[in-house]
């Protein structure tokens, strides 16, 4: 169990992978079962409506075995891989924030007599299976936003507290992935209990499991995994070396914050706004977008009012509403807000970028707006105006 929240990318951590274990494919099911036996609700990848999403797992048979997600700007298709890979896909429209920071939670009940009840009675225990490097980084970002500022969000903190994380190192990045350039992947860096590397081919199929916490070790011992040999560990390491060579996208973060601060009136934002539909898809699929709104709901008699918190998006016109109108009424200003928040102001607010390089916003944008391209465009426009 990760009880040390201070792990973060870029920072030294005292925990390292201490022991490597070997899991035959059948042991993945045992892993799920063992976690369930320990009282964890286990969540992991399943296929629904033609996409890989995260949902509760009862057994490994629910995993999208043998599938690949073919992604492009504004494109997502599942196809058969032709092998039996358990984790041969990357990330889909869901992210783990759905479980740690649910889309809709009831915060308060207020009665007309003035009785106020604050709801925070969740006391479950979750385990996430197949968390990618970018997603670990995203959870770390949310930790900073929701737990390490002057105010700590109780809903997130409760769910985060007992979280058990089984990470998966990505053997093949997707077409929209750029985690390598963001320093968040393709290999899990920190903030997990167990990290799996899938080794597949030449008649072999196994997982090398690195345990980073004592809880991770305990679970692996419990399911009877044997220690991995040096050869097996080195085969896993070759898989990851190869993965690094397969990236197609990158985002150059060097000095980017300053470039963006100097480009607030850039025509690049106006150009993007001509394509942007302000649909808010990018913010909903983003694993770090944390903005919420509250809704007030009353019963028909007006005797009980409930306050619900739900995910919001800076692409909604009402997001910036103050008396008389919205601060950001044009699409240009709303795209600029999102873009500058992810890549610039977030750094000043939380000491880390709000983008982890997962590529979801590129895939799920109906018109395929690509954050890596727009960042490069901002840079290019700056260079032109500087000369």
């Amino acid at each position: 169990m990760v009880d040390n929240y201070s792990n973060s990318r870029g920072e030294e951590t005292s925990q390292e992978v201490s022991k490597y274990y070997l899991l035959q494919p059948s042991l993945i099911n045992e892993l799920i079962r063992a976690l369930r036996d320990d009282g964890y609700a286990v969540y992991g990848p399943v296929v629904r409506d033609g996409a890989i999403v995260y949902d509760e797992l009862e057994s490994a048979s629910q995993l999208p075995v043998g599938l690949r997600d073919r992604q492009g700007p504004g494109q997502y298709r599942l196809e058969e891989r032709g092998d039996g890979a358990f984790f041969g896909y990357v990330v889909g429209p869901y992210s783990w924030k759905r479980f740690l920071y649910p889309p809709r939670v009831k915060l308060l009940t207020v009665t007309s007599r003035g009785e106020v009840t604050v709801h925070n009675d969740w006391n479950g225990k979750m385990a996430f299976l197949a968390v990618r490097g970018c997603e670990l980084a995203a959870i770390e970002v949310l930790d900073r936003v929701l737990m390490r500022g002057p105010y700590r969000d109780p809903v997130y903190s409760e769910r985060r507290k007992n979280l058990f994380i089984v990470a998966v190192n990505c053997a093949e990045p997707g077409e929209n992935c750029f985690c390598a350039s963001m320093g968040t992947g393709p290999e899990a860096r920190s903030g997990y209990d167990i990290a799996l590397t899938e080794v597949l081919g030449d008649g072999v199929h196994y997982f090398v499991a690195g345990a980073r916490t004592t809880e991770g070790e305990r679970v692996l011992e419990k399911i009877g995994a044997r220690r991995a040999t040096d050869d097996e560990v080195s085969a896993a390491s070759s898989v990851m070396k190869r993965s690094l060579t397969l990236f197609k996208k990158k985002l150059d973060v060097n000095g980017l914050k300053e470039e963006i601060y100097g480009s607030l009136e850039s025509p690049v934002f106006t150009e993007v706004a001509n394509r942007c539909l302000a649909c808010a898809n990018c913010t909903l699929v983003c694993p770090t977008c944390f903005c919420t709104n509250v809704e007030e709901v009353t019963d028909l008699e007006g005797k009980v009012a409930e306050r619900w918190r739900r995910w919001d998006s800076c692409f909604n016109v009402d997001f910036s509403y103050i008396h008389g109108g919205s601060i950001r009424s044009s699409r240009m200003s709303r795209y600029r807000q999102w873009f500058t928040h992810k890549l610039a102001t977030w750094v000043d607010q939380f000491g880390v970028m709000g983008c982890v390089g997962c590529g979801r916003c590129i895939t799920w944008c109906p018109v395929g707006i690509d954050i890596t391209e727009e960042a490069a465009n901002i840079r290019r426009a700056q260079e032109v105006s500087a000369t």
Binding site: P150, P154, E296, I322, M332
Partner: protein
Amino acid sequence: MITAVSVPVVDALETYKINWLRVVKKTKETPDTYTLRLKPKEGEIPPFKPGQFCMLYAYGVGEVPISISGDLYNGKVVDHTVRAVGPVTKALASAGIDSVIGFRGPFGRGWPLEEAEGKDVIIVGGGIGLAPLRPAIQYILKNREKYGKFYLLYGARTPDDLLYKRELGLWRGRLDSQVLVTVDKGDEKWRGYIGVVTTLFRYLKLDPANTYSYVCGPEIMMKFTIQELKNQGLPDERIFISMERNMKCGVGLCGHCQLGPHFVCKDGPVFSFAEVSKFFGRREL
């Protein structure tokens, strides 16, 4: 990296709770603006600083951020001035004496009154922007010996739009302060200045090396006032403004009130101009 106010981590759950206030007095300031004097249904009003705001709650309708607009009786009651423009503010403005409204807060960073002790202070308000300044004015006038020269410039569109008219008269009568009031457009009874608030600067002789300024009003009014204060030689570090954004949670978690890297609700609403100059007055930022 913004160094937020260094306070221990607070469980935001505490800040989600609603407390109840009773309306003990209601003053009609302008045709659509009311000052509600509020007293806790039970217990005390939590300590607050001039310039902070509360989330006021109309049962079943919703919440709005409203600046604390007065503190005359040592925290036993608290004033909020509400302009009826949306569903929540209309519900609040229609609350009668003895009705009960909810509140959360106070939130945010107020005017730097302690920092300005021993110095001259100039306060410039525009329209309803006088509301968050009023507790600062009250504090300075009550602790007049702690400050050097004190100036108050206040502008509104018409005489009908002036807030706190009776109190303005009392302030104007003080011999230890210079209080000037102007309107854009007078009526037949108006005997004061005519023109935007920045035209009043010509009647002052500021000591820029020794003066703090607190400004609140519409952004366009603040923009020209800041320009005038800079012309007078005040550094950005001693020009303080109160920003308005869509505050929802009050504790920097909901994301609505961002202005560049700042969360207006927890890093502000009062900022020195030095902190926000890169982001202030930019269209739609």
